[in-house]
Subunit: 146 residues, 2 copies
Amino acid sequence: MNIGEAAKASGISGKMIRYYESIGLIPSVGRTEAGYRSFSDKDIHALRFIARARSLGFSVEQMSNLLALWRDDKRASSDVKAVAYAHIEELDSKIGKLIAMRQTLQHLAEHCQGDHRPSCPILGDLAGTADPGEIASSSAHPPLTC
Amino acid sequence: MNIGEAAKASGISGKMIRYYESIGLIPSVGRTEAGYRSFSDKDIHALRFIARARSLGFSVEQMSNLLALWRDDKRASSDVKAVAYAHIEELDSKIGKLIAMRQTLQHLAEHCQGDHRPSCPILGDLAGTADPGEIASSSAHPPLTC
DNA sequence: CCTTGACCTTACAACGGTGGGAAGGTTTAT
DNA sequence: ATAAACCTTCCCACCGTTGTAAGGTCAAGG
């Protein structure tokens, strides 16, 4: 299997397959006499594993751990679960920050007239010159946990 | 005002202040005879504007637009509002993706025994060998909109 | 006056992932 | 035989931030 076919079969671009190989995320695959990479079914399987892990937001480093666990017959599922929960916490942290941003911004935008006049509470907040009576300070991001 | 003092006053590292200057996000500030950057109150004000915008997740390009609007006395607040809403949509998109990941992962992790045994639905899903009866396919990410 | 330490300057590299492209070799189909 | 579609390696770009190295400057104290 060519790298092009492997890319189609796995959903990972050829560029990225080479990159993953170069950083050691996947072991070096076989080569033809002409130097072309030759992917076995096992290689494709690993690539699809990676594609799926990537779609769940795992970092390359986390994927490296997961791949090692996958290959290890004597792994403990608790180890896998720990990696998963660590990632869930990362996701929660990111989600929380984004929601706080969204909340603040929404609040500011709602108070903006949005007309031809220059007066704007959004810029007022950014510049630190917002009327604190008109709009509650947005730095007090509410404990919104979704 | 030194760059160090400016950094403390604005909450932006000296490194980043130089970077923002280098890419033209802020105009070149004055210099002392010895070549040290000298920040005016106005400069600090702009830096604090940037720090606040950054904390709301605006990209450098968006900040550039916002700064231009801020400096423009004849701006229309609708223009500012448009930038804000565009960013809110970006945030929503990111949040949605992260929540979908989180949801899938949580679901998988809940079904993992997390003991000393190797059997693990998380790896099963990633490898594409999960029992479809045991665990609903996680690729059908639910329409969770928070 | 001189040293020391804390600051400043520029310039370069690195990170994580991903994409783009150049320059050259190979395979496949016409 | 030739053209198109591959493949190879190599370097560069993005974004935002940090680190580091080599050198200049300022303020304090001996």
